[in-house]
């Protein structure tokens, strides 16, 4: 009848069957998603010199993914996500230091500790505006930073945590200087957690989060407990961030106060926004773009690379992130059509 109806180009069988197809379509894997992961794996042979950088990218991507879970899917802004990254890093680092260097044990411990912290602090975020949330999260991260600084007997204080030794992955693969094991390990963890996140956002629970983000008033009015959902996703996101921190601690075998730094929280936000909020791949693409840009620019001009990053950000925003996205889609549209044919 209207052109909107035409857009839903599903053959008319019965409304219910239609509806099922439509909902299933949203969660289907697209071809470019496979391409992304295959490319990530192929990078090991294609860029053997850059595995350390790739490892950092994978970790940052996971960190950004964890932020996307709350920012993109539940609308909670945070400038203190480094708190979870940090406790995860220290948890894994301390385990490594005191002789429990099994990587997966470290990951589990980091996830658990971060989740507990996330759960405990999530209650502070249930009220208030975006700005309030930004500042509360920031405040928590900075207090943790001060705490870690003061309790130097445990954390090593400003000098960082020394003597972290991590065992081989699965008891087989040692972390080597070239970063090969590190990258594979981080990529693997990223992939598994990504699958989990992807599942969650396409689940009824994930759908309800989007509802909460878009209109909490209405969400309540269809019987959704906004508070419980927010606490749940915040806790989960914290666990993800904790794992990212653990990966960082394990692959560098070192933890320092910077893990809690404001700059780290700000960077991850930047990375996510750069890559696009709310579609899971934003963190991955953002991390890729940001790190490559940073690496490239800081190689050319070690002192002033920030200027160029700043310029890129400014231009990006002025030109409109969405518009650039649309342009890219248009660019790739022939490719898409070719595939359908």
């Amino acid at each position: 009848m209207t052109d909107i109806a035409a857009a839903a180009a599903v053959p008319q069988i019965s409304p219910a069957a239609d509806a099922r197809l439509m909902l299933a379509a949203a969660a289907r894997w697209r071809w470019w998603e496979f391409a992304v992961w295959i490319a990530a794996l192929a990078a090991i042979v294609v860029f053997p010199r850059n595995l350390l950088l790739l490892n950092e990218i994978a970790i940052l991507a996971l960190f950004a993914l964890s932020l996307d879970l709350i920012l993109g899917f539940a609308g909670i802004v945070s400038l203190g996500h480094a708190a979870f990254f940090g406790v995860g890093a220290y948890a894994a680092g301390l385990l490594g230091k005191f002789g429990y260097g099994d990587p997966f044990l470290g990951l589990a411990a980091a996830a658990a500790v971060a989740a507990v912290l996330g759960f405990a602090t999530s209650f502070l975020l249930l009220r208030g505006s975006d700005l309030t949330r930004l500042m509360v999260t920031l405040g928590i991260a900075l207090m943790l930073l001060e705490l870690a600084n003061r309790e130097a007997w445990l954390t090593g204080g400003a000098d960082g945590l020394q003597g972290v030794t991590i065992g081989p992955v699965l008891g087989l693969f040692d972390f080597d200087l070239s970063g090969r094991t590190a990258y594979l390990y981080s990529l693997g963890v990223l992939f598994v957690l990504f699958l989990l996140a992807r599942r969650i956002i396409h689940s009824p629970f994930g759908l309800s989060l989007r509802a909460v983000k878009q209109n909490p008033l209405r969400a309540r009015a269809i019987g959704i407990s906004v508070a419980v959902r927010l606490v749940a996703i915040y806790t989960l996101s914290a666990a993800f961030a904790g794992v990212a921190g653990a990966l960082s601690a394990q692959t560098t075998q070192y933890v320092s106060l910077e893990v809690f730094d404001f700059i780290r929280s700000a960077d991850v936000m930047l990375v996510l926004v750069l890559g696009g909020v709310g579609y899971l791949y934003g963190g991955i693409f953002g991390a890729l773009i940001f790190k490559l840009m940073q690496d490239y620019l800081s190689a050319i001009t070690p002192q002033y690379w920030q200027f160029w990053i700043g310029l890129v950000l400014v231009i990006l925003v002025l030109a409109g992130r969405e518009r650039i996205g649309a342009q890219l889609t248009r660019l790739f549209a022939p490719l898409l059509r070719w595939r359908r044919a």
């Binding site: 839903a8 299933a24 009824p204 878009q214 209109n215 009015a221 019987g223 959704i224």
Partner: protein, 250 residues
């Protein structure tokens, strides 16, 4: 007859203003009510109190015999009390199918399931599709809500409320902004709900009010002015004076 929803000495103050002034009213099960009154009389406030969007300053709200005064809004919905808003409250970036589907799946208790893909449960989909069809939203169910014409959004607003399968439904000016010829359609659908559903309608369009309501409550300055059968209210000179005016109906 049994009482579906009841307020006892309900009071709400905003600073010095008494927006709800000692309102005690009982809504009988299965009866269609209208709530009318001058602008600022406190109609929307009353609905907000009933649904828990606002906390009352005093008094109690009783749903099917149980005191729900302190209950969280979402729990009231789970207990069979749903509403629409005076200004649309929808999910702009979700489709009608997702919106209604979500409401159905929440009601059936699948809301916290994170391991299953949305749309996997047959009974959810079938019910959602049926509701969308009843409201004539089937052909736009895959489009984002924000691009729908206003009239369709208004319908969706009501469809979502109905998807909660309420036993008491509160409608706050559902026909506002809807063209003349479609207003009656909307209320016909609402009127077609099962007989045991209690409905409370706020509306300034008297044609609609009188064609829909069996009983009418009049609110003035926050207080319950009178309550009675529709035709008695229409004929009451005092109601004419405070609300209907010269061109009034009756």
């Amino acid at each position: 007859m049994t009482v579906a929803l009841e307020t006892r000495n309900l009071v709400k103050r905003f600073g010095g203003l008494v927006a709800t002034d000692d309102v005690s009213i009982a809504f009988q099960k299965g009866v269609r009510y209208a709530l009318i009154g001058p602008n600022g009389a406190g109609k929307t406030t009353l609905i907000n109190l009933l649904t828990g969007v606002l906390r009352p300053t005093g008094g109690a709200v009783i749903l099917e015999g149980a005191d729900i005064t302190g209950m969280a809004p979402h729990r009231r919905v789970q207990n069979g009390l749903a509403r629409t808003f005076q200004i649309n409250q929808l999910f702009p970036e979700m489709t009608p199918l997702q919106t209604v589907g979500l409401a159905v799946s929440e009601r059936q208790g699948h809301g916290r399931e994170w391991w299953r893909l949305a749309g996997g449960k047959r009974e959810v989909i079938d019910e959602a599709a049926a509701i969308l069809e009843r409201f004539g939203l089937t052909d736009v169910m895959g489009a984002e809500t924000k691009v729908l014409p206003y009239g369709k959004q208004r319908l969706l607003e009501i469809a979502v409320a109905i998807a909660c399968r309420p036993r008491v439904l509160l409608l706050d000016e559902p026909a506002a902004g809807v063209p003349e010829e479609e207003r009656h359609e909307i209320l016909d659908i609402v009127g077609g709900l099962p007989d045991d559903v209690t409905i409370l309608l706020i509306e300034h369009d008297m044609d609609l009010v009188f064609s829909f309501a069996q009983r009418i409550a009049v609110l003035v300055n926050g207080g319950l002015f009178m309550e009675g059968a529709a035709k008695d209210i229409a004929a009451d000179p005092r109601v004419r004076e405070v609300y209907l005016g010269e061109g009034g109906h009756g």
